[in-house]
């Protein structure tokens, strides 16, 4: 091997050493894993190994049959309480929810919708929603008002809920979404992540956080469930009441390290001249990963912001899981 070859190999291996050993998947894979391990014991407790392939085959046949059926543009729906109305008729037990139908619940009614074969939606009392699309590539509801609790286990961007203030896009998750009659909404995520999108403005809401939405303005800035009231108020003022730079400064002052999700979103919302201050506060609260620079963040470099987001969301996820563990362990 020549000296030139040696140098080339050294250079290559040096560059290989700089490659990241870890790459974060773009979607949360945990809900799918949890769904699968929830049905299985750890190896120590497993018996009857033949039952697994047999059951899997039976489930596969059922799933294939159901998928063929569900492609017809209807979902199953069942009454949970009271007398829900589906397509203009009272739902006694179970029925079909057709594309174009409205489902309405009064103050004492509740219903559960099967979202194709990827999840389910519980419709709370006082709600009205319509089935917009029921295809394997697009599962879409429109929530006029009321409250729903959605739980979906599927690849991202298959389940959508349109509202008067934008669209909730499932990224593999569970969440509640409440809309009042004026079109103001609140989305609260209980597993995974949800994106809320309105005319180019988007918010990514992780487990344990929520976001308010307003018609004509779209999503505000996500806040953790235990965020300081001063932070939540400042972010609401910034997003919906024209609070501007003053509200942003109040938000920065009130934020804790646990509020990095909020400040990361704020970075992309403030005026260009204010981004430096937002970045400095964010970096102080939650140090950026290697490769993220102040200049890049202020210019909203998408790769750098994504890298920053990946570590922020991981920490937020971990915090929520530890909180859940803490609740279980006395």
């Amino acid at each position: 091997m020549s000296a030139h070859d040696d140098a080339g190999l050294r250079d290559l291996l040096e560059r290989v050493r700089e490659l990241p050993r870890a790459i974060e998947p773009e979607r949360d894979l945990w809900p799918g894993i949890r769904a699968r391990i929830g049905k299985r014991e750890t190896g120590a407790g497993r018996r009857w190994p033949w039952i697994v392939p047999l059951t899997a085959a039976a489930l596969l046949l059922l799933a294939l049959g159901y998928r063929a059926w569900s492609e017809t543009g209807t979902w199953g729906v069942e009454r949970i309480a009271g007398r829900p109305d589906v397509g203009g008729a009272h739902l006694g037990g179970t029925g079909r929810f057709h594309v174009g139908d409205w489902l309405t619940t009064d103050d004492s009614s509740r219903a559960r919708i099967a979202v194709g074969d990827i999840g389910e939606v519980d419709v709370q009392p006082g709600s009205r929603l319509r089935l917009v699309a029921a295809k394997s590539s697009e599962h879409r509801l429109a929530l006029d008002h009321g409250s729903i609790a959605a739980s979906v286990d599927a690849p991202p961007r298959l389940f959508f809920v349109d509202t008067h203030a934008g669209t909730a896009i499932d990224l593999g998750c569970a969440y509640t979404l409440t809309m009042d009659s004026a079109g103001n909404g609140l989305l609260r995520v209980t597993a995974g992540y949800v994106e809320f999108h309105w005319q180019g403005r988007r918010a990514i809401v992780p487990l344990g956080a929520s976001v308010r939405t307003r018609p004509g303005r779209g999503p505000g800035i996500p806040v953790a469930s235990d965020a300081p009231p001063a932070l939540a108020a400042a972010l609401d003022s910034f997003a919906f009441a024209g609070g501007g730079a003053g509200a942003a400064r109040r938000a920065l002052a009130a934020a804790r390290p646990e509020d990095a999700v909020s400040i990361w979103h704020l970075l992309g919302r403030v005026a260009p001249g204010e981004r430096g201050a937002v970045y400095d506060r964010l970096a102080h609260l939650f140090p950026p990963p290697r490769g993220v620079t102040r200049a890049g963040a202020v210019q909203l470099d998408s790769i750098q912001l994504q890298a920053y987001w990946n570590v922020i969301r991981r920490a937020a996820w971990r915090r929520e899981i530890l909180k859940a563990i803490g609740k279980r362990v006395p």
Binding site: L9, A22, I23, L29, R36, R40, T42, G43, R314
Partner: protein, 183 residues
């Protein structure tokens, strides 16, 4: 604050709890190690969706086989090895299926889209893209030897090839990478 790096001790405690059926403990193990598992799956198979599936498969198998982890190596080492095995087993199944339905295309001649590479920036992106364009066998040996740090005998066992073939594939991968990065 960013999550603390995983340690062998804390992993072991979580493994013990997970063995008892504690899903929260297993969720924590997932969160600690998913980046490494996904990275090796993505670099071995190139396709993001497939890598996500294999990552999930690896963690499900990990859950099923937790009782086999004896603590003789770091949990991460055991898990990443398990993930690599999941990738190669899936590849063998895919190939068997393909041969039943069609004449298999020569894998090493397949064109690879550049956007199949993992996201990154600057030079790193160039290198990731170049790795993604390597022929399958050469790429897999390169990923396992130069990035993941496995020895040739380990790679040969995992891939079902001779040690000499592993060495030859590594030589080929490095040569192709230098050519592509220099051009």
């Amino acid at each position: 604050m960013p999550a603390a790096p995983p340690t062998a001790d804390s992993d072991l405690l979580l493994v013990r709890r997970a063995r008892g059926g504690d899903e929260s403990a297993f969720a924590d193990l997932y969160q600690r190690h998913v980046g490494r598992v996904y990275a090796v799956c993505l670099r071995l198979v190139r396709e993001r969706g497939r890598a996500e599936e294999l990552t999930q498969d690896a963690f499900v198998r990990c859950w099923e086989r937790l009782d086999r982890y004896r603590g003789e190596s770091a949990f991460g080492t055991w898990l990443y090895r398990l993930a690599v095995n999941v990738v190669f087993e899936a590849g063998r199944k895919d190939r068997r299926r393909e041969t039943r339905v069609a004449i298999e295309a020569e894998p090493e001649r397949r064109e690879v889209p550049l956007d199949a590479a993992p996201a990154g920036g600057g030079l790193r992106l160039d290198l990731e893209q170049a790795i993604a364009t390597l022929p399958e066998g050469a790429r897999q040996v390169f990923v396992l030897f130069d990035i993941e740090g496995y020895a040739h005998d380990e790679i040969a066992a995992m891939m079902g090839i001779a040690v000499g073939t592993s060495k030859a594939q590594l030589f080929r991968a490095r040569r192709l990478l230098r050519e592509r990065l220099d051009s």
